[in-house]
Amino acid sequence: MADGYAGKYLRVDLTKEKFTILPTPEEWKRKYLGGVGMGAKIMWDEVPPEVKPLSPQNRIIFATGPVNGTLFPPSGRYEVISRSPLTGWWAHASAGGFFGPEMKYAGYDLIIIQGKAKKPVYLHIDNDLIELKSARHLWGKNVIETTDRIMEDLKDPDVKVAAIGQAGENLVRYSCIMSDYFRAAGRTGLGAVLGSKNLKAIAIRGTKGIKIANKEKFNKLLEDAFRRHSPEGRYWEYIESFRKYGTFSLTDWENAIGRLPTKNHWTGYFENAEETIGMEPMRKRHYKRHASCFGCGIQCKYSSVVKEGKYAGTESEGPEYETVEGFTSNFLSTDTSALIRANYLCNIYGMDTISVSHSISWAYESYEHGLLTKEDTDGRELIWGEDGMDDVIELLEEIPFRKTKFASLLAEGSREAARRTGKGSEAYAIHVNGLEASGQDGRPHKSLGLTYAINVRGADHLTSLSSLDELGYKEEIKRRYKKETVNILADRWDEKLKGYLVADMEELYALCDSALLCKYGVMWPPIYYHQDFGKIISAITGFTEYEDPKNLSKLAKRICHLRRCFNVRLGWSKKNDALHPRFTEEPMPTGPAKGQVVHLEPMLREYYQVRKYDWKTGYPTKKELEEVGLEDVAKELKKRKKLVPVYRGKKAFQIRK
């Protein structure tokens, strides 16, 4: 029996109003670890391609991992896994805060939700007590009202609540799940999945504990981990800055390399950003107080407030870097009060700030090029800059309710909005495989181009992004990779070897999202690497085999392959491993990376070599799947003619030491 886990999982069938509590199978723990790993296993087994994202048969899985809720920092997160109503593909999103650890303290590694409730309900869990309660009085309420009301109803101010706002109820395709008021499981539209099931919220309380397999080892690793988060650690400068400014310190760093998406990803440089929307002005104007997720040594959280002007008094946790970009440079606006207002509205209605801001900016750019007119926009002139922000704010009030035809069009996400609009407006829907591009750009950071192209959930920055070349962590590159590769890997404009680098990051983050730590600490800054995961997994669970790098790499590959196979079964093939032409055909017009484009093919070739995918079809290879222990998956894909028997391509070059 493995330690570190809560030990049980809960299945809720909303149609039958039935709860099943079962021991978490040993096979799931050992082979898939937790988080997205276990999620992938369940999605593969239980959600065949016929099941549409918003149908009752779709599953939505709340998952923790063995490291969650232990003292090991930063272990406050949880993952939500499903099939995405925004993209149609694999979906996962993760949130920090306190909800994840509470799930474990209540005794559940996973909560699997299926079916559809007849009327709006919420799920209440207090250790062994599980009940579905009417949410009639909560339907139509925003996230703050809902959370407050549930605490009142249950007379428990310490209950942890994950809820959807009106956006989720009205099936806005990029609605999210909000926990502890302000922490978002943001991407891929999982709020709509809950909305489609009539499940308004999960409220959870737990007072049980977690057993550690090897306390002595755990203690040593703990000491080392906290030392790395202290002034003695290598990355203290970054941690200090996250603690002082929050993640928006990235705004300055990204603009400095010409990678701060500006005007709907038209360029990557926003003039004077440092003085207008950068970390200093943001802190000076809006900083309210410092906060943190559960058990974190970085502590990037804080809340902001608008002190003057028409939005005075607006207060919310955040905004994160992605939101800063989405509602300032993305609209050529320096109005940070409008930004805080936008962030607040997205939080209370429950919308992914990245997808909603970039869906709206699709409309702005389409309008600029005459593809949308005042007739389409409810009489609005969509103009860039500070003066256009009133309309953005208005739209944020309308989209969650699908108030008008235009708002409802935007609620479908940029890909679908552009498809319905036609006239070439697809050129301004900056998404990859249906997911709006986040606050990154591949032109100044080539490996990011590959990241967007091959990610299982589309254009996001959390599944395989390499921060090593991005922010020039050269010393870290030296520690991890072979000497002859260092200079090439560190050059963010050089496509060479980046396919191997991205594959390595994808595997590292698969471990991170399954053991369940925060990406800060693994990515920005790169505190932990594979061997750290091997050790901590071993100490907490007792799976000592993962201290052997070979086994650990197999585990990571297994998770990566299984997620991709889920997509392949849905119809994903080589043609999906592609980028929006904005990144491959339009040279960066301004800024430090002026003239750059992404050359995808060389990187994709390398990536395919590591994964042993077939270059023509993008399908996986039988032998490789069997090697990582996915024999059943191989069998099913073979039946569906989506498997290649032998890999005939080149062998991958090993960049790791």
Partner: protein, 154 residues
């Protein structure tokens, strides 16, 4: 003599102190076994660690019928002799902070003993919300911070 000095304004609510305490004292990861607990108002992002303040006139000692609660003469710390505790819970109701907690599985109460002069919560606290220092120094450092705020305005 040093005291555990709490500066709630600095607390980020990470709850590391709570878990570190539980793990050190009980060798288990169970937040409610922490001698210190952090209370949060998520809506406003406010957090406060609540822990025994080692009262000079300790009500818990006064009500304890078995002298399980006592003051260590050397360190002035209020401690529990677990083997003497009969679980009557009088101290739990007497303590104005709820800092003494009865644990059913253990059949005794638990409370902060300042880790014999080296409190683990302080070591883990990343923000300085928990400090172990001389009382006079503690108040003065708080006043200094106030002064710094005033300098910023000047």
């Amino acid at each position: 003599m040093k005291i555990l000095n709490i500066d709630a304004e600095k607390c980020s609510g990470c709850r590391l102190c709570e878990l570190a305490c539980a793990f050190t004292k009980e060798k288990r990861i169970i937040p409610i076994l922490g001698r210190v607990n952090v209370f949060q108002n998520y809506a406003w992002g406010l957090s406060v660690p609540v822990v025994c303040t080692q009262c000079e006139e300790a009500p818990c000692i006064k009500v304890c019928p078995t002298e399980a609660l006592y003051r260590d003469p050397e360190t002035n710390v209020v401690k529990v002799k677990e083997e003497k505790c009969i679980g009557c819970k009088l101290c739990v109701s007497a303590c104005p902070y709820g800092a003494v907690v009865f644990i059913p599985e253990k059949k005794t109460v638990i409370k902060c003993d300042l880790c014999d002069g080296d409190p683990v919560c302080v070591k883990f606290c990343p923000t300085g919300a928990l400090k172990y220092e001389e009382p006079v120094k503690a108040t003065l450092s708080k006043r200094r911070e106030q002064a710094e705020k005033i300098w910023e305005v000047l």
